[in-house]
């Protein structure tokens, strides 16, 4: 219901920069997730939006009006907290009614609104229960109902699902999205859970070290990450070091072999880059498809198989011949359908091809001295299952 702008917002705690120069516009009725590891500044940004922290510099603007210096109770933003923060001395009804009572709404109107919201969240039967008599999922629904009861211009959700168990979490996130679309509320969702962010957001803001790493739709963030950080943080990603042969022609080389990738790279010739490819996009050669001319293939030995349900992930140690390194230390994650995983037991040799269409090359910023936490961007290591 409101358009929210954050302009060059910065916050320091002592010497530590928590949020640096954060700028973002969130359109009316949009759901935007702030996604990042703990300590990346996402919650601080949310708290500055709500008014619980004052930015050192920058502005928070709602519908063109500067609210930077307004106290939280004058901002008209609804907030849902990580630990629910329901008032323990009030029933579900009274919790939801609280904000309306503060606004001196007529009693009849309040009651009607409370009943309507409890209905919307499937809570009608717990209206007279106190928080300690409700389950975690019910408490969080009451917290949501309470936050939207005041018809906030902006709804702020601070890790709202982290305290509920996995099954309820999935139900609730669908419910949050349904409610958000139905009520058309401009919403910020802070989360460290990528599946949560990808599944219900219009846009995802990936944050790292107090700054925006990347902003995009869930599809863009997943399929076309612009940075190694995003690539590593969202899902599993293989990073294969390459050297650019021709940036204009989209030609790179790995292990002495050249490969064409789709489109121009925007990288200088001779520059180091990282070829990014998801485990499910690496195709084992020799199954049904032969290696096509121009495709890069990698070979290695399967070290571990991990069953993931429909697919099985193979961790493959790339051979020295394939990588051009000696000794080769790179592990590749390759997802294959579980039905055919038996063909590649641990210890067997595997050749995979990288389809030119699905691979992307980005600059390898570590070699340029850029600040990227390598430990955070490595392919997630699957635990040793003792296979």
């Amino acid at each position: 219901m409101s358009r929210l702008e954050l302009i060059n917002v910065t916050k320091r705690f002592g010497d530590q920069v928590a949020v640096s120069d954060f700028s973002l516009t969130i359109e009316d009725g949009e759901l935007v997730s702030f996604l990042g590891p703990s300590g990346c500044g996402k919650t601080t940004t949310l708290r500055m939006t709500a008014g619980f922290e004052a930015p050192d510099s920058g502005m928070v603007i709602v519908d063109g009006k500067d609210v930077t210096d307004l106290p939280p109770n004058k901002r008209g933003m609804g907030m849902v907290f990580q630990g629910y923060a329901l008032f323990p001395n009030m029933t579900a009804n009274e919790n939801v009614e609280f904000g309306l009572a503060v606004r001196n709404a007529p009693v009849a109107e309040r009651r009607a609104r409370v009943a309507e919201l409890l209905e919307l969240f499937g809570l009608s039967h717990v209206g007279k229960s106190y928080p300690h008599q409700m389950s975690g999922g019910q408490q969080q629904r009451v917290a949501l109902a309470r936050a939207v009861a005041i018809q906030p211009g902006v709804l702020l959700l601070d890790e709202p699902l982290s305290a509920v168990d996995a099954k309820v979490r999935e139900e609730l996130r669908t419910e949050i999205r349904r409610m958000q679309v139905q009520l058309h509320i401009t919403t910020i969702l802070v989360t460290h859970d990528q599946s949560e962010a990808l599944s219900i957001s219009d846009r995802v803001v990936v944050m790292n070290r107090g700054a925006i790493e990347e902003v995009g739709t869930p599809t863009q963030i997943y399929s076309e990450p612009q940075s190694a950080f995003t690539a590593g943080f969202i899902g599993a990603m293989n990073e294969i070091p390459v050297r650019v042969v021709s940036g204009a022609a989209g030609l790179v080389q790995h292990g002495g072999r050249r490969v064409a990738v789709s489109g121009a790279l925007g990288l200088a010739d001779g520059q180091r880059g990282l070829l990014l490819i998801r485990p499910e996009q690496l195709e084992p050669v020799g199954s049904s498809n032969a290696a096509l001319n121009g495709d890069l293939t990698l070979t290695g030995r399967v070290e571990v198989q991990t069953f993931l349900g429909a697919t099985t992930r193979l961790l493959v140690r790339e051979s020295a011949a394939s990588s051009g390194d000696a000794p080769a230390t790179r592990l590749l994650a390759v997802d294959v359908p579980s039905a055919s995983a038996g063909r590649w037991p641990a210890g067997s040799q595997l050749e995979v091809r990288i389809p030119a269409s699905s691979s992307r090359v980005i600059a390898d910023r570590t070699t340029e001295g850029a600040v990227v936490d390598r430990s955070a961007v490595a392919v997630p290591i699957v635990p040793d299952l003792g296979v």
Binding site: A50, G51, F52, P71, P72, N73, K74, G76, M77, G78, M79, F81, G83, A85, L86, F87, P88, N89, M90, F98, G99, V102, R103, Y130, P131, H132, R146, A147, I150, L156
Partner: protein, 297 residues
């Protein structure tokens, strides 16, 4: 030899019997005591009970007699004594005012310390402990110097004088009231609850009265109880500042009419206990306290 064999026989026969007997004794003891209550606890309880109840018993025996015979006459004399009524009224009034003042000042202070001024916590804690370090007698001397007849702010001779006594009572209750309220505040997530309330549009005062106060009601009840009983039983300040409160009256009566005095001591004891039980019942009925009880169970 035969003696030995007899002894041997006896041992053979008696040992199992003794053991069986011991086992029976053991089981009996267990069933008598109920499960899980160890002997030492019963001993400690018994000794404490005697320690606390014996003086009460002695007071009752002395209070309800004229020296030789049991009679309730001293009690009736005491209850109908005008001094008893006026002094009790005075004490009740001052204690209620002190209790209200203590809650009204300490609760918001402790809330602000917890919410915003954490770095002042140690200072505030130290200040509230001062009454333990500075005895009431010193406080009286100080009050008389600052507000006495020689002072430009001569309260002692004015109609404002009760302010000094209530102020003194308030200071004496600080160690108890602050701790009781502070513990209750620490048990709830004051910051998040306050933020939740603010996000719903409530200002600080409404947040405190509607959200925080009900959440810490148990702490407030114990603080009230401690403040009330401290003020009711206070002697030094009242006696030295010249107020005939109930404890002062009791001491006077005890000197001249000891039987009546002791009978009234029992009355004051019952009044205090009635107050304690009433407050405990109130605390039980407050919805927010169910959380605390749930957590304990």
């Amino acid at each position: 030899m035969s003696g030995t064999s007899i002894t041997g026989k006896a041992t053979e026969e008696t040992l199992p019997a003794v053991m069986a007997g011991a086992a029976v004794l053991k089981t009996r003891k267990r069933t008598n005591r109920g499960p899980g209550i160890p002997l030492w606890a019963i001993v400690v309880f018994g000794v404490s009970a005697v320690y606390f109840l014996l003086p009460l018993y002695a007071t009752a025996v002395f209070g309800f007699s004229t020296g030789k015979h049991f009679t309730l006459q001293p009690l009736w004399d005491g209850l109908s004594d005008s001094g008893f009524q006026t002094s009790l009224q005075l004490s009740l009034t001052y204690s209620v005012v002190t209790t209200v003042l203590a809650l009204a000042v300490v609760a918001p202070t402790a809330y602000l310390v917890e919410l915003r001024y954490q770095r002042l916590r140690s200072t505030v804690e130290f200040l509230t402990l001062l009454p333990f370090v500075i005895p009431p007698i010193i406080m009286v001397v100080g009050l008389e110097n600052v507000y006495g007849v020689d002072s430009p702010v001569n309260l002692i001779a004015s109609s404002w004088a009760p302010v000094l006594l209530i102020g003194g009572y308030f200071v004496l209750t600080l160690p108890f009231t602050f701790r009781a309220i502070d513990n209750a505040l620490r048990a709830v997530d004051v910051r998040t609850l306050s933020e939740a309330s603010a996000s719903l549009g409530a200002g600080p005062v409404r947040t405190f009265l509607r959200v925080i106060v009900p959440s810490i009601s148990v702490g407030l009840v114990s603080a009230a109880l401690l403040a009330f009983t401290t003020a009711m039983g206070e002697f030094t300040l009242a006696a030295l500042l010249g107020y005939p409160t109930f404890p002062v009256y009791l001491l006077n009566v005890n000197s001249f009419q000891p039987h009546m005095g002791e009978a009234l001591v029992l009355v004051s004891f019952l009044i205090t206990w009635a107050g304690v039980i009433a407050l405990a019942l109130v605390a039980r009925k407050t919805p927010g306290t169910q959380v605390v009880r749930g957590a304990l169970m």
